[in-house]
Symmetry: C2
Subunit: 271 residues, 2 copies
């Protein structure tokens, strides 16, 4: 089941709606700015790159701004009483309702004029107009069973195929952030197990292989992949097959959660 619930959905007469929207929105933003000064640490933000998997290709969760139709990553600010990991966890939960997801810090983005331009038509003391140093986290989640929730700035949110990113108008340096997250993920895949949050409880090796191929962006040899993945010791073979497809029914597996999390902590071997 894939539900997408996306806040307001104003439509009909486009020009009227856009004007109406921007007026409401302006007030919303200005009032949220005041609140932000109370709650958050200034100049620090978190951007999360949330990867999903549709069984074939990787997607990224993006939101679409109400007032300029640009796409951007789910993000937020650091509360005065939390650390960055908590902030990233909170932001992930706000957008996807998901908890207990592996979140990995991968880089900090601190260039000048990253964010200042976006709200240039607003008062100078607007919170959002400050310079922000953003800490990037990525997560891997199961594409299905997720109710996406857009925030007050966003008219919609959606899973965007990595492949389609180039064609979208994406805000600020968020395209660069996604690329860097993907690169960090590709590095991680060689020494940390991946898949627990991306695949259903029971899955087949061909499905797992598709996931690896989607992340790495290239096809892998079946026999070699099977050998390698089984060797890691994170798989439990079930006494069931996935019936219903054409052709031979593939064996079902689950993750051996104990081993999975141990290896997630320690890395796959060498270190």
């Amino acid at each position: 089941m894939l539900t997408i619930s996306c806040g307001l959905n104003l439509q009909y007469n486009p020009t009227f709606v856009i004007r109406k929207r921007s007026m409401d929105l302006r007030e919303i933003i200005i009032s949220s700015s005041k609140e932000a000064y109370q709650i958050y640490v200034p100049h620090i933000s978190v951007d999360t790159v949330i990867f999903g998997f549709n069984g074939d290709r990787l997607t990224v969760l993006l939101l679409k701004m109400k007032f300029n139709e640009q796409w951007f990553l789910p993000g937020g600010y650091l509360k005065k009483d939390e650390n960055l990991k908590s902030a990233a966890t909170r932001i992930l939960k706000e957008k996807t309702q998901l908890d207990h997801i592996f979140l990995q810090e991968f880089s900090v983005f601190s260039d000048l004029n990253r964010s200042e331009e976006t709200f240039k038509d607003f008062p100078d003391d607007l919170w959002h107009k400050k310079r922000f140093i953003s800490v990037g986290y990525y997560a891997l989640v199961n594409y299905k069973n997720i109710s996406l929730i857009a925030d007050e700035l966003s008219e919609s949110c959606d899973w965007i195929f990595l492949h389609d990113l180039e064609t979208l108008p994406i805000i600020m340096d968020h395209h660069k952030i996604i690329k860097k997250a993907l690169s960090a993920l590709r590095k991680q895949i060689s020494y940390k197990p991946i898949g627990l949050n991306l695949l259903p409880e029971k899955f087949t090796l061909p499905e797992l292989q598709k996931l690896y191929e989607a992340i790495l962006g290239r096809s892998l040899n079946r026999g070699n992949f099977y050998k390698k993945i089984k060797n890691i010791g994170i798989l439990k073979k079930l006494n069931e097959q996935r019936k219903g497809g054409a052709h031979k029914a593939p064996d079902l597996y689950t993750f051996d959660r104990e081993n999975y999390f141990r290896i997630l902590q320690n890395g796959i071997s060498n270190w």
Copy 2:
């Protein structure tokens, strides 16, 4: 040549000096706080873990606080007109005079009550008393030919052996930061060349091996190390030997800078 110039060196009657010191220092800190508000972005700091190598063991550059005798990492704040990498570069230069050094971001430290305690006897609006989210960078530099420069807060600065860290009083979470930097460095050593800033212009393979062993914290097999390191393609064998030692004179090498920097960018292979 190893010169260490460390600001003031007050000594003699300890109790008197400490009192005198703390009074001067208090004023210095309070005035630097005012300046800081003008120059820096609040709540963001940079800590640099600068590794050195004495030919046998790894060291870390630490400073010693004037007013509580605790050791801490060279660090600083983010100027309003620079990004984090520039800040880290600037801080490294301030302490070591060195330029063009490879600096690697490795983690962000954002826990609550990281730094607030250190200046608890100062006014509440003191810059240093704010909550700081610190971005960690590490660097590798040649232990020799460096004039260390302590700052206004520090009575001295010194290269501390990794092995001796446990015995020193180290401020805040700086011990944790060093450990994490070392762990990142150990990961990096397997896919990026290391040594250009740590060894003299001309060096021998046994020297390079000692460096690797110091970083990894374990001994390596000589023959295998030679083969592996030569295979990377970053070494140029010179037509000279290091004379003077007992036993066979070892061959001298330099780094092939072109290859070195190319591989530093792209990683050693796989990726």
